[in-house]
């Protein structure tokens, strides 16, 4: 006897554990770039940003961390990831060399609107990168996000479960 109507009933599945269904998800990762502060005087001024991380991913040693980083630290991170991992690293917000030239009408790279634009770009960049499963295995990302200061003479390595 041939099938007149196809059998489209669902395949059997184990019922979901209520704890899994209503518990906190295992993919909680929040990264914020905020509180820009310009430090120094005259020619030697630079802006740092606060990087706040909250997570429950086991790959991160600290479930909460707060560090301050400047734009060149981001450039360092991007360079390390491009060299060490197979990740296609997204671009950073612009370097704004033109803004660093003298005789400008505005505050150049310390202009409030420029800092805000850059802050948004850096936040977007970090969220894209930190959520990448391959980037999460790189030591440089963990140094950048969770250690007090960036040691540019570190030994590149891969991280397994923290």
């Amino acid at each position: 006897m041939a099938e007149a109507i196809a059998d489209t009933r669902r395949l059997y599945t184990k019922p979901q554990n209520l704890n899994d269904a209503y518990g906190p998800p295992s993919n909680f990762l929040e990264i914020d770039v905020s509180n820009p502060e310009t430090v120094g005087v005259g020619r030697n001024r630079f802006t740092t940003y606060e990087i706040r991380l909250k997570t429950n991913l086991p790959i991160f040693k600290l479930k909460e961390s707060r560090v301050r980083r400047r734009y060149s630290d981001f450039e360092w991170l991007r360079g390390e990831l491009e060299r060490e991992s197979k990740v296609v690293v997204p671009p950073l917000p612009g370097k704004a060399l033109i803004r660093q030239l003298p005789f400008r009408g505005d505050d150049g790279i310390f202009d409030d609107s420029f800092i805000e634009e850059r802050r948004q770009g850096l936040e977007h960049f970090l969220n894209k990168v930190a959520g990448h499963p391959l980037a999460q295995n790189e030591r440089c990302l963990h140094i950048f996000l969770q250690e007090e200061s960036v040691d540019k003479n570190y030994t590149p390595s891969k991280i397994r479960q923290a």
């Binding site: 109507i5 489209t8 009933r9 395949l11 184990k14």
Partner: protein, 332 residues
């Protein structure tokens, strides 16, 4: 074709004997249009008449012979000069001579072998056609008639399900299952995706059907991929222990049966591609080959019988049995 107003020319017309009753099937032409052609199966006899109509009545048509051929050939688009004929039958209709008036010739190719299905693809074409030729000194008069061949299969004896656990270490573990590995063209893919571990932020999940046409051999193998369907099966972020059902009806898509190494010239294979996309547009995927086959049309049972079978799934046994026996009585 004669360029001079004197001399004789003729028109050829090929007509099948069962043109009234034989079914036609739609088939895509090389430029994408869809046309209807007579449908044949393996082993069927191809018979008909060749009508030769003289253009200038009263003048005679001199010729070196009239014949009709049945040809099955594979044409690779990058190598148009070489046609690979895998079926080639000839019937002579008339010996060299003169035709004084329009004539009709009968022909029959008995129980012709048609081992492969007609296929028009991106880089290769497999076609069957009848070709009637009037040979002449300077130029032949030719007429071709394409037909379409379908290859039928029956339910495979072995049709195991596809079930696999895949993932990224510590990032995403899923178990996917498809109810069969061999599907007919009007079948339904019933499956499920079970999430064992979710540490990435998934935005949605879809299943794609990919057709891969492979032409060439050795170092010159060329693959042409075409995404036939994209079907979203999940929107939103799943958690551990969640199961997402799949129900994908194949009848809605234009597909051919799986063709493996046809005449050692080309292959057409189908793959299910399960794609998960996370919030940063990163794509995680797993591709799995499926075999597609063509089921022959069966005579439809009466509607009441079909309805009775459907009711069996949902109602209690008593009413269903009553409906079935009633339907059997109606049938008889």
């Amino acid at each position: 074709m004669s360029f001079f107003s004197f001399g004789q020319s003729a028109e050829i017309d090929i007509v099948l004997n069962d043109a009234e009753t034989r079914k036609k099937a739609e088939h895509k032409t090389e430029d994408g249009k869809k046309d209807k052609y007579f449908l044949f199966y393996d082993g069927e006899t191809v018979s008909g008449k060749v009508n030769v109509t003289l253009k200038n009545p009263g003048k005679r048509l001199e010729h070196q012979g009239i014949k009709i051929e049945f040809i099955g050939q594979i044409e690779l688009y990058y190598d148009r000069g070489n046609h690979h004929e895998f079926v080639s039958l000839v019937k002579d209709l008339a010996r060299p001579g003169e035709m004084a008036q329009s004539q009709t010739f009968d022909f029959e190719f008995t129980h012709v072998e048609k081992p492969y299905e007609s296929y028009t693809g991106q880089n290769v074409k497999l076609r069957y056609f009848l070709r009637a030729t009037i040979s002449r000194r300077l130029n032949d008069i030719c007429k071709e008639m394409d037909i379409v061949v379908h290859t039928l299969s029956t339910y495979p004896e072995l049709n195991s399900s596809i079930k696999m656990e895949v993932g990224i270490e510590d990032g995403l573990h899923i178990e996917f299952e498809y109810n069969k590995s061999k599907y007919h063209l009007k079948d339904v893919i019933v499956g499920k995706i079970y999430f064992l571990l979710v540490r990435i932020k998934i935005k949605h999940m879809e299943i794609d059907i990919i057709k891969r046409e492979t032409t060439g051999t050795g170092p010159n193998v060329y693959h042409e991929n075409d995404t036939i369907a994209k079907y979203e099966i999940m929107d939103g972020a799943p958690v551990r222990g969640e199961s997402i059902p799949i129900r994908l009806f194949l009848a809605g898509y234009e597909m051919t049966p799986t063709m493996r190494d046809v005449n050692k010239k080309f292959s057409v294979r189908y793959y299910l591609n399960l794609v998960l996309i996370d919030e940063e547009e990163r794509r995680y995927f797993k591709q799995q080959e499926i075999t597609l086959w063509r089921k022959g049309d069966i005579v439809r049972k009466s509607m009441s019988h079909q309805a009775a079978i459907a009711s069996q799934r949902f109602e209690g046994s008593a009413s269903a049995e009553k409906a079935l026996s009633q339907a059997k009585e109606d049938d008889n």
